[in-house]
């Protein structure tokens, strides 16, 4: 009995309805996303196509099947949903397991992919839906998925099915757009994952992080790295310099600044930065020494 009741509790929605966070609107009108009917077990590709369209990428669900579907599992796995978004040059961000984060994104106009277990744990029916709106006064949330056009269900019912889906949620964002709900560390980690497959899109994301969180040094290093890789040495050096100002004890920032300055043919400035990195040390100390040794410092006073 206790077990049954545990499955019925809706602590997140209860807390939200009792006390709405001041920056969360009471309702968000339905975001327009195209509807795609799903073929067998293809709710993953259908949900992906809906949120990608909202991020400015028109792609048919059938063209996403090869990126996410696992035949033997008759479905799509959450990590691969994120990976598929990156392969389309969009920023994928997994949200905190919190209904407030989901609604914050929806209020900001970002449709959210959620994983629900529509059934009970003993006979799970795993299903991806897209949250497109909500209304706290009527206690409803608006979902659309490969099986159903936008329709409302009670928020508490949603929390139960979502909790059984382990509170998994993600957004897909056009490059340069950031999620409304996450901390800089989380957004930065997702930008790094995007850099693996699309450095140009990642550079725009890093730049957007530096605009929203100008005192967050890692984003400046990411911006410098992607600018450097795209042969924009000047932006790269400016970004690394900013990182060293924000985090004077960050050896990585000094090392990368040294590399960018050396490439700009400023060997004496580069040498000073490299020596700074070496003096800080840390897990990448060997690389710092290598940087220092590679700089042609014959013209500089020692």
């Amino acid at each position: 009995m206790a077990l049954l009741l545990a499955g019925c509790a809706t602590p997140q929605v209860d807390a939200l309805l009792r006390r709405r966070p001041p920056d969360l609107p009471a309702a968000a009108a339905s975001i327009q996303v195209p509807y795609f009917a799903q073929k067998d077990h293809q709710c993953g590709p259908a949900a992906l196509a809906m949120v990608l369209d909202a991020a400015g990428d028109s792609v048919a669900p059938a063209d996403l099947v090869g990126s996410v579907f696992v035949p033997a599992r008759e479905g799509s796995l959450p990590p691969e949903m994120l990976a598929a978004v990156r392969r389309r040059g969009r920023l994928a961000v997994e949200l905190d397991p919190d209904v407030g984060a989901v609604l914050t994104e929806v209020a900001a106009g970002n449709p959210v992919v959620v994983l629900q277990n529509l059934s009970l744990p003993i006979v799970p029916i795993w299903h991806y839906s897209v949250v497109v709106g909500y209304d706290l006064s009527s206690k409803d949330i608006f979902l659309q998925s490969g099986g159903q056009k936008a329709a409302s269900i009670p928020l508490r019912t949603f929390e139960r099915t979502w909790a059984r889906g382990r509170h998994w949620a993600m957004v897909a964002l056009a490059p340069g757009t950031l999620p409304a709900s996450q901390q800089p560390d989380q957004i930065f980690a997702e930008a790094v994952a995007l850099e693996r497959v699309d450095p140009v899109a990642a550079r725009r994301t890093y730049r957007a992080i530096t605009l929203r969180f100008p005192r967050y040094p890692q984003a400046w290093i990411g911006l410098g790295n992607t600018a450097y890789a795209q042969s924009d040495l000047e932006e790269s050096a400016i970004a690394f310099r900013r990182a060293t100002q924000l985090a004077p004890d960050n050896g990585d920032a000094w090392n990368n600044l040294a590399t960018a300055l050396a490439a700009l043919r400023l060997p004496c400035d580069a040498l000073a930065a490299a020596r700074k990195a070496v003096s800080i040390g840390g897990p990448h100390a060997a690389e710092y020494t290598k940087t220092e040794n590679e700089i042609d410092a014959s013209a500089c006073a020692r």
Binding site: V68, G75, P79, E80, R166, A193, V197, E294
Partner: protein
């Protein structure tokens, strides 16, 4: 000469595909390394092995072998390790809202059978076969 070129291009493509970080410049600390912290070298090897494991596991589970390399390359290191560790425990979203009917039908049939066997008496129209 031609052969050597082909080998060079192929090995280059191999390295790119495996997600082994190619040094863009020998002495730039890459963005991914910023996330790794103190155990950088061990993390890198772990993620590299995890990616190989995930590629193998996906092919085993019916994914087109020509697709797996690009799929796995788009995972973050942490996700590659997660997927390698619990590919069969992670939920696979696939079923539609319509499939609920399937479950209901199954429950209905089970109860119908248990009714007929006389184990339950859910439906008014059933008659148990044993008295």
């Amino acid at each position: 000469m031609q052969v050597r070129k082909i080998v060079a291009v192929a090995s280059c493509a191999f390295l790119l595909g495996t997600g082994l970080p190619l040094p863009a410049h020998a002495t730039l600390i890459g963005s991914e390394q910023l996330l790794q912290g103190a155990s950088a070298a061990r993390d890198k090897i772990g993620a590299f092995l995890a990616r190989a494991e995930v590629r193998r596991a996906l092919v085993e589970r019916g994914v087109d072998p020509t697709q797996v390399r690009a799929r796995v390359a788009a995972l973050s290191d942490a996700q590659a390790r997660d997927l390698a560790a619990r590919i069969d425990q992670l939920p696979a979203g696939g079923d539609g809202v319509g499939d609920v009917l399937g479950v209901l039908l199954l429950v209905f049939v089970i109860l119908l059978i248990t009714d007929i066997l006389g184990l339950t008496k859910v439906f008014p129209f059933t008659r148990p076969i044993h008295r």
